[in-house]
Homo-oligomer: 534 residues x 2
């Protein structure tokens, strides 16, 4: 297992206790052979099928998407106990291969599932739209009685209560069984914490981003302040959406910069299908969470009827700051070609407004205490700073601002938002199709440009990622040695690319629309995915 | 005319030039006799009727509300030229008595009205729902080619363009003709600036708040960050609403703390009738301003149908910090009695959550640079600080915060909002009926407690004020010398009260509901006003 963050003697002792706890939580019957763990293949996604821990029926269950699962439980075809057991086994396997978990409590999940099954048996109905659905929860979202942290050992705690989202999901019938790893600071597009470094199951060379346990997680709920939902989904071939801020329950998470609202973090689902995204958001909104949480907007998701007009799609190959790696460009070219050939949509080249400036603004807003809080929390836990934590709080982007300097930066943000929307409107596109990242997934410790997701956080534009079905193929994706560099961040990204390192990684794309157009994003996703995969 | 702020020689010269400009803008045919100006009555509201400057027809026009005016222009019964001329005359009179204006450009208004009348003659239709409606605009809202400022001489300028709201209103057919005074800093609940001190037309002893020219202004558009719409309307016996932030166009105003979004300023109308509030908001929203301004929420005003259930009204006599003056309590008691006697509504006593804490939080958020920006802008213009400016930026409320201190204060705000909503929900009230201020209107330089309006700014709850039809009557409103003080702010407020000083001032009340319940506020206003005035 790859290692996590380091620290002093106190830190080591605490972490060691946590790792033992986590190891002991996983029943020995779910253990993979030592020989496999010592010498895993580059791509471990087929191990759940071959290791013999899951039955054939359980494997079939873990191939279903959330929509199918809740439907089959509602019809009596599946029990909640069978479902959570299957996903629990799969999560245990995934964790041993990728270090994706921070808490494993399948017994508690099975107990809850038993109660749900009993309810169903007595009443013949479900308790809510998510009845029996196993949902993995990111470490920073409190689940009552379970471990959680804000990305530092010094913030580790057992949660005395659910946060708002987990309480909403619980009331809707969801079953919790694991919590998933996140990076130190929760602000890397990778996932190395004191629990360890999480690996990408498609290619262990690569990071899964801030992702949960890849294939193991049926559905995960995360926060996205710079790409933390979209990047991991893109890296693991999943579907994910970062909704417009404050349209999805998110209060009460563990976080170390509460009140720093210069840029907002939005919660959202990571799923196995596009329809699951819609199902999950609508389920959470069906409880009218805005009546209880004053930060939420009463704006329910509504997919517009786009059959009446031609959907106008802007396509952006690069943001003029960093050129994506060849596999991403290949997928985007293929998508563009298919979309242009379709009668159903109109395709235009999208001209981005100044993404370089926008990226600089949001980087400045993330930690305008100059990183002081992060350094304090590390010190409190005797924890060493990781390279990506050091990078994210370094100048020139991160500075300690006075009150008036912070107002100036926020005002710059507001003017940028106005100017961006104006240029978007001039291009009259309904949605934008673009890369979700500078490559298919980062090699470890290299996720040092967030522009393809963070720009939409700054603008608060909802964005969804989806798998194209393509994967990296060295024969099709040679390095492009001729193009001239767009700048230092581009040169850095280019240096990382070697086709063989990235082999087999899934290629995702991203769909974006202006603020509050979440329904348009999902409606367009349905159309675009169908055409691209036809 | 009462004097404005003072300053150095440069300041005096600049201000003198502006005052001459303003004086020269008012035609001599609209001048009131020197004898009247030297010895005005305490209540000057009847002077427009008696001075002979307006014809009988013009007086009738200025008695109409906005809804009637646009209806009569649309039916051809009135011309836009006749309407703006009448209001221009009335504004000129009001200004001479109360120093309410900062720019007077009736000729420009008449020219615009001529074009509108010509359009109507040719096409037989209006150009929009506000066709021909004269609207006075607060000094800090840019109107192309006219003077404007952010409350300091150093920010005085001729606007090169309309701000978003004035451009929206112009497109809807509104006619601009005057701009109205605001206080130094725009953050007093009174209106003393370098242009002078604006007086309350109902009682020259008193301040009209941040108000426009009282009776002269048919309709004014203002910003409200602590009570700047509701307080002036309450002091002048008008109708006003502070909508939920970012539901009404407001970007592009002149302001000196852009980016300080710890608390938000919301724009809204001040009107002569309750129905005008609804008409104006719906007109502005009919242009779908959220498509052009990324800060706006796409949440159009909708009045709920409250005939189906009994409206549940909470009544709060005081906020446990400052006891309102006797006339306000009298009006509230009368309203409560009438409401309790009605079969149509249910009345309960409202228990306020900690308003003292909320007030302290918002005061801290207003100027968390410690007032540095205000002092700099005063210095730039050679302008002395006014007592209420000094008060508003003084410790303990105002401090210069570091980045992390400001996050803590914002987080405290967010927790307060959660706790407040929870307690509101437990009381299950639809709306709250409460005082809009600690008295009917402040004596000059005494508006030193904003809690009755600012608490709703902190919570971002929409609030409307309306006149009860009652006025201060020393026989009915003796001072209450027996009650014990609630604290220093209460003692200060109590000291101000002498029935004879406040005689004749109108008494308003305020209606509030949680964020985004603007429609509920207006629906309840219709019901409550009808019952209270029955």
């Amino acid at each position: 297992m790859t290692s996590g963050s380091t620290g002093n003697a106190y830190f080591k002792q605490q972490v060691s206790a946590q790792l033992s706890r986590l190891q002991n939580q996983i029943p020995s019957s779910y253990h993979l052979p030592e020989s496999l763990l010592d010498n895993p293949p580059l791509n471990v996604t087929s191990i759940p099928e071959t290791c013999g821990i899951l039955t054939k029926e359980e494997l079939a269950i873990t191939d279903l998407d959330a929509t199918d699962i809740v439907t089959k439980i509602r019809s009596g075809e599946l029990t909640a106990v069978a479902v959570v057991t299957a996903f629990g086994k799969r999560a245990a396997i995934a964790h041993q291969l990728t270090a994706c978990l921070t808490d494993f409590f399948l017994e508690e999940g099975i107990q809850r599932a038993k109660e749900l099954d009993a309810y169903f048996k007595v009443h013949g109905t479900t308790i809510g739209p998510l009845h029996g659905l196993p949902i993995s929860i990111k470490d920073h979202m409190p689940v009552k009685g379970r471990w959680g942290s804000a990305g530092f050992l010094s913030t580790l705690q057992i949660s005395s209560d659910d946060c708002f989202l987990t309480s909403v999901l619980r009331d809707l019938g969801a079953v919790f069984y694991v919590k998933t790893n996140q990076p130190q600071t929760i602000m890397h597009l990778e996932s190395q914490s004191f629990y360890g470094r999480t690996l990408n199951p498609h290619n262990l060379n690569l990071s899964p981003g801030g992702s949960s346990g890849g294939e193991a997680a049926l559905l995960a709920l995360k926060g996205d302040g710079g790409g933390s939902i979209r990047a991991p989904c893109a890296f693991a071939g999943l579907y994910g959406i970062r909704p417009t801020s404050y349209t999805f329950p998110f209060s009460g998470i563990l976080w170390y910069q509460n009140g720093n609202d210069g840029t907002t973090v939005s919660g959202g689902p990571m799923c196995r299908s596009a329809r699951d995204l819609e199902m999950l958001i609508k389920a959470a909104q069906s409880t009218e969470p805005w009546l209880r949480d004053p930060s939420l907007f009463p704006i329910p998701l509504q997919l517009p009827n786009i059959s009446q007009k031609k959907l106008r799609i802007g396509v952006m190959f690069h943001d003029r700051v960093v050129m994506p790696h060849p596999p991403v460009l290949r997928a985007l070219r293929l998508a563009e070609t298919k979309l242009r050939a379709s009668e159903e949509v109109e395709v235009v080249e999208y001209v981005p407004y100044n993404h370089k400036e926008g990226y600089s603004i949001i980087r400045g807003l993330y930690f305008y205490d100059g990183g002081e809080t992060i350094r304090r929390l590390l010190k409190d836990g005797g924890e060493d700073i990781l390279p990506l934590s050091e990078w994210v709080i370094s100048p020139p982007h991160t500075r300690n601002l006075t009150a008036t300097q912070s107002w100036e930066l926020r005002h710059k943000r507001d003017l940028f938002r106005h100017a961006y929307l104006q240029q978007w409107r001039e291009q009259q596109v309904d949605v934008l199709l673009c890369p979700p990242y500078t490559g298919v997934a980062p090699r470890h410790d290299t996720a040092r440009y967030w522009g393809y997701t963070a720009i939409w956080n700054l603008l608060d534009y909802p964005g969804a990622v989806f798998p194209t079905g393509l994967v990296v193929d060295p024969a099709l994706d040679p390095a492009d040695s001729l193009a001239s560099s767009l700048g230092p961040e581009d040169s850095y990204n280019r240096q990382q690319y070697e086709p063989n390192v990235y082999v087999g990684a899934p290629i995702n794309l991203q769909i974006v629309a202006p603020r509050f157009n979440d329904g348009m994003v999902l409606a367009a996703l349905n159309v675009i995915e169908r055409i691209v995969k036809s």
